[in-house]
Point group: none
Chain length 261, copies 2
């Protein structure tokens, strides 16, 4: 929470496949001062000896690594999460380079926020629904003739940029009147309520478009950088609109009946 | 060789040990447009199938790799060579970060010079005599608690910086993702609809707080930078929540009546 020593980002690996790569990620993290490693459904289970072997002594991120059943759980306590992905998406989330991401993460962490970097599995990468849980996308400016980046290479670039940004210690003009952003658990509560009400109201049609409609709505809300108070306000809005209008309609219906319509 | 397309640096590996690492270096090079790979006395000989296996398809730097008996031979045709090493030396050579190195290499290559990046073997690193053949030293600003960088990780950082310096900030993915923001007339239409529905639903209480509640809601929506399409989506959300739920309640009421409640 101090200006001098912002907490480095957590690294979240969603469905990583090879233990060797998890170890290489831990090594890359340690090189640049990161230590909070989170694994969502690692394919071969956890722990795996081969991870420690490939970490070349960077054991502490592995020793302290936490395993989560869902990505939502893994990022629940974080306030700013950026997803690294190569493919452009239909989602309207800001797309930044690792350097721009580092400056954004550093500003947020310097203001006391908990921040994270999300990576997909080696083969599958991230689904749109995973990215829709994040506040922004990091795209590494690779040569278009060979885009396939190794997982640990992708991690090391953002870790390096984080360390470079932290070393510079730019006096960031992070607006003082800005409130802390809500954490992802709060955001997910809002998403869940809104989507359930919209489902009940028959908003999602045709049904096969439901996932992309949900992702687009989440991207809008993620971009707004909601505070806890604002999440509560919007939950109140959803409640008022969905319940309150029912009351209004009932009154209207009663009035019509009274008028003999 | 032109201002527009300077030749990327050669990568020289001095006495590399593991073929897997040579393959990983080739992959890192390909990610950032480098292709000239030079090997000085690779421990296990050359070629090695395991290099191709770990290059994940980045075959061309391996196919074209040249093997040299001495470092002097390997860099004979180059005009600017920077050695990457972690340890400070007695040599009075300029020490730069990968970013500063990229800018220096790019300036030289843009002026038609042939440039290179030198790396030592996995275990031994570079001898002082090797470094003394170079024009400068690149030191990667790692966390002092864990300095041991994987060879391909060291290469990828300078390759990435080269590419960033060479490419003029490719913002194309961002631009493609970006839609024109909605104009204020569209926004105000959304505000008006939302606020009227909330008013009808009894959301604004106590009444004297209505203006500040409205301002807060508008600020949230303004921050999201909505496109026209997103404004239409959100108007649909408001309609669905306010009207759709009414339908649900009406159905529920009808059901209750039918059940004789």
């Amino acid at each position: 929470m101090t200006e001098l020593d912002p907490a480095p980002p957590a690294v979240i690996l969603n469905e990583p496949q090879l233990a060797e790569n998890i170890g290489a990620v831990a090594r890359a993290m340690a090189n640049f001062g990161l230590s909070d490693l989170r694994l969502v459904r690692p394919r071969d289970g956890w722990p795996q000896d081969r991870a420690w072997a490939s970490a070349s002594g960077a054991d502490w991120p592995l020793n302290d690594a936490r395993v989560f059943p869902t990505l939502e759980d893994a990022i629940a306590d974080l306030q700013l999460v950026l997803a690294t992905t190569a493919r452009p998406r239909e989602l309207r989330l800001p797309v930044v380079t690792p350097r721009e991401a580092a400056s954004q993460l550093h500003a947020a962490a310097s203001a006391g926020q908990k921040v994270g970097l999300l990576y997909g599995g080696e083969r599958a990468g991230l689904e749109t629904r995973d990215i829709a849980l994040c506040q922004g996308v990091i795209t590494i400016p690779v040569d278009p003739r060979f885009r396939s980046l190794n997982l640990a290479q992708a991690v090391v670039l953002s870790a390096y940029e984080w360390h470079a940004a932290a070393a510079h210690r730019p006096r960031d003009t992070f607006e003082k009147n800005r409130e802390d952003p809500a954490d992802h658990a709060a955001l997910q509560g809002l998403y869940g309520q809104l989507e359930a009400e919209l489902q009940a109201a028959g908003f999602f049609h045709p049904p096969e478009k439901t996932p992309s409609m949900i992702n687009n709505l989440r991207a809008i809300l993620a971009r707004a950088g909601l505070s806890d108070q604002e999440v509560r306000t919007l939950r109140g809005v959803v409640t008022a609109l969905s319940k309150g209008r029912g009351k209004v309609l009932e009154k209207l219906a009663a009035k019509r009946r009274a008028e003999g319509n």
